[in-house]
């Protein structure tokens, strides 16, 4: 017998444990689903397995039997199979086929549940939003222990909690173990199938079999999780951690680890936010919300693929281009002995602010200075500018030789491309053009300088 009838600690511990185990199992599978673009199939399978559950519960009268897995897997695979057959033999487009099959099966499931199972502890409501709160309340005693009175109360509570396991937990743990074993066993096949299913088939792997195995596992994990969070939130547990991980990682292994971590964080934070101390609301819904928030953070702040990182990269490129344009203008001005006071760079779409910022930056770098005779290049600035003008004129020479372009059309393309021609490309160009000394307009192509001037240009 339990010493404390479901203390807060017991509830919290097992709720979070359940959330983590389900979440990690779903997240691991989710990575492959997202990469194989099976997200919507996953949604369909999650819905379509409902009649399987209903039938099993109808026959056995309980929700915690392992037969439930079988029922769910059968109907999950059936969903995928029916949708595939419908689009192949029934001239129905793939997405419509999926939609028709899963909604129909789901409707059958709901009717079965509401018509025949009203009296059992599986009401339709639970199917949609899950009853996370009740999962830890149906428990069994793992083994009877006599907890010595000499232990501290905290320790006693911990032990009491650990031995009193929610009925659903072994099922969920099994799902997790199966998933991990599956991923480990089929590691390279899964990667191959996610990357290039046709190649996988050509190499003799049965991609179709793997596909249905994956579908069956999705059904298994869905059924393990659905009592807790409901059929829709399960989808969030599959897809969102994987999508978040995709924003953060570029390879498979880190992606799986990130996805698992995201799932664990969502389980813990979600439970805490949903607990009576904060919002007192549905746990599954809150977990999905937290998952969404995690994804939002990743989308915004991911170091390489995040929106912010992209904006910063773009702005730095713009700033660099502005700076280089300024240097080039000053260089040409020096060639033509004209005076420069203001810069207008409309054809590059550069705003006044960007130009001002670029000017400040160049001044700080000591590349330009403002004297009595307007803006001037310093020696370092002149070196940088020379490289840029070299790139520009080399490209003009290249265009002149290989493109059908009139002479007066060379400048604009060259001023777009010049910013991307580092020393290495310049060398290649010069070699291919047999080290020209003049561009098509007859202007001098500056000779090559020491490589350090392009240092801030390397990718």
């Amino acid at each position: 017998m339990s010493l404390l009838a479901f203390s807060d600690f017991h509830l919290a511990f097992w709720s979070i444990a359940v959330g983590c185990v389900c979440g990690v199992a779903c997240a691991l599978l989710g990575c492959f689903l997202v990469l194989k673009r099976m997200s919507l199939l996953c949604d369909a399978v999650g819905h379509g397995m409902l009649p399987g559950i209903a039938i099993v519960v109808l026959l056995t009268g309980t929700l915690s039997s392992f037969v439930l897995f079988v029922g769910a897997m059968v109907f999950g695979v059936l969903t995928a199979f029916l949708a595939q057959s419908l689009s192949r033999f029934g001239t129905v487009s793939e997405d419509s086929a999926l939609g028709i099959v899963f909604t129909s099966l789901f409707a059958v499931g709901v009717v079965l549940l509401s018509r025949f199972l009203g009296h059992i502890d599986l009401d339709p409501g639970c199917v949609f939003y899950g009853l996370f709160e009740f999962v830890p309340t149906k428990t069994f005693i793992l083994f009877d222990v006599e907890i010595p009175e000499t232990f501290s109360p905290t320790l006693r509570e911990l032990i009491a909690t650990l031995v009193e396991v929610p009925e659903a937990f072994p099922t969920m743990l099994t799902a997790l173990v199966i998933t991990i074993v599956f991923v480990a066993l089929f590691w390279k096949e899964l990667q191959l199938a996610a990357f290039d299913p046709e190649l996988a088939s050509a190499m003799g792997y049965n991609a179709q079999l793997l596909h249905y195995l994956l579908v069956a596992l999705v059904a298994a994990c869905s059924v393990a999780a659905f009592e807790a969070v409901g059929v829709v939130v399960v989808l969030a547990m599959f897809i969102v951690p994987a999508a978040t991980a995709q924003m953060l990682a570029d390879r498979m292994r880190p992606m799986l680890l990130w996805a698992a971590a995201v799932a664990v964080v969502a389980a813990v934070v979600g439970y805490w936010l949903a607990s009576p101390w904060v919002f007192a609301c549905n746990v599954g819904g809150m977990i999905a919300t937290v998952l969404g928030a995690e994804l939002l953070l990743a989308v915004l702040f991911a170091p390489r693929h995040g929106v912010l990182a992209k904006l910063v990269r773009n702005f730095r490129l713009t700033l660099r281009i502005a700076g280089e344009e300024i240097l080039a203008i000053l260089y040409r001005a020096r060639e033509n002995q004209t005076r420069v006071d203001t810069f207008v760079l409309k054809d590059h779409g550069l705003s006044r602010f960007t130009i001002w910022l670029a000017l400040v930056r160049l001044q700080r770098q000591g590349a330009i200075e403002r004297g009595a005779s307007g803006w001037q290049l310093t020696d370092t600035g002149a070196q940088q500018a020379e490289s840029l003008v070299r790139a520009h004129r080399l490209w003009e020479a290249f265009l002149g030789e290989n493109f059908e372009l009139p002479l007066d059309h060379l400048h604009a393309p060259a001023s777009r491309v010049e910013h991307f021609l580092g020393p290495e490309l310049q060398k290649q160009l010069a070699e291919q053009l047999h080290e020209p000394s003049k561009d098509p307009h007859g202007k001098q192509i500056p000779p090559v300088h020491e490589p350090q001037m392009h240092s801030d240009k390397s990718t």
Partner: protein, 253 residues
């Protein structure tokens, strides 16, 4: 007044340039062929002229105006694979779509439009199929349907993307006859073409394209071994390298 003016057009997909600085002007009505190897950007050039893909740089003018202002004077035959042929419309429906531009908002095609569409179907030789669903047609008949739709646009400039791809010889001849007929009426037709054997017979003006414009002008002067070698002799490797460098650094859209 130039009919078509492509000014320094560069187009990029996923930041990688697929068309570099193409500059080309057409002053007289011509039957123009765009020729080049696979992946040379032939379709992209047509789409750029039609305003269907964003330009990284450059401008396109048709009759001295931006394309958007002269839509009524433009006809288009897209690639056959670009639509779902199982779509529930009949051949006549598709031909009628060519008249939608002149109809404007809300108005339905009436007897006049119907007569025009039927005349166009007659011209391409599939009048008897007008009630068929488009999926039941053969490849050649589908291409003829698209051509009829373009004819129903009653345009001054036609753009056609691979109209001869995967059609039978009879259809190819029929299409060519129609192109010539249009040309005689003083229309301009720009055709993406893949079959070098028929080039000198079909076109009086040529664009040789391989990512960049290799040569353009009257077929007689442009269609030379030297130019073809330049066009089909592989990419300029340096262009590929620079393209990759641009892709790696360019601003994300």
């Amino acid at each position: 007044m130039p009919i078509l003016d492509v000014h320094d057009v560069t187009v990029a997909y996923h930041r990688k340039p697929v068309l570099w600085d193409v500059d080309w002007t057409l002053d007289e009505p011509r039957l123009v062929g765009i020729v080049g190897p696979n992946g040379a950007g032939k379709s992209t050039l047509i789409k750029a002229m039609l305003g269907l893909v964003p330009l990284v740089s450059g401008t396109v003018n048709v009759f001295d105006q931006p394309v958007a202002n002269v839509r009524r004077r433009i006809g288009y035959v897209p690639q056959r694979e670009s639509v779902d042929w199982d779509f529930p419309v009949s051949v006549l429906d598709v031909a009628l779509m060519g008249t939608y531009g002149s109809l404007g908002w809300f108005r339905r095609p009436g007897a006049k439009q119907r007569a025009l569409a039927e005349k166009c179907l007659e011209m391409v030789g599939i009048r008897d199929l007008e009630q068929q669903q488009i999926g039941q047609l053969s490849g050649g008949q589908q291409q003829r349907t698209f051509l009829a739709r373009a004819l129903a646009q009653q345009a001054d400039v036609y753009f056609m993307d691979e109209p001869f791809a995967g059609v039978d010889a009879a259809t190819e001849q029929a299409i060519f006859q129609i192109l010539r007929h249009l040309r005689q009426q003083g229309k301009t037709i720009v055709v993406v073409h893949h079959d070098l054997r028929t080039v000198p017979r079909y076109f009086d003006h040529l664009i040789l394209l391989n990512v960049r414009l290799v040569a353009s002008g009257p077929t007689a002067t442009v269609f030379t071994d030297e130019n073809l070698r330049k066009t089909y002799g592989g990419r300029l490797s340096i262009l590929e390298t620079v393209g990759a460098a641009v892709q790696a650094q360019e601003r994300t859209p």
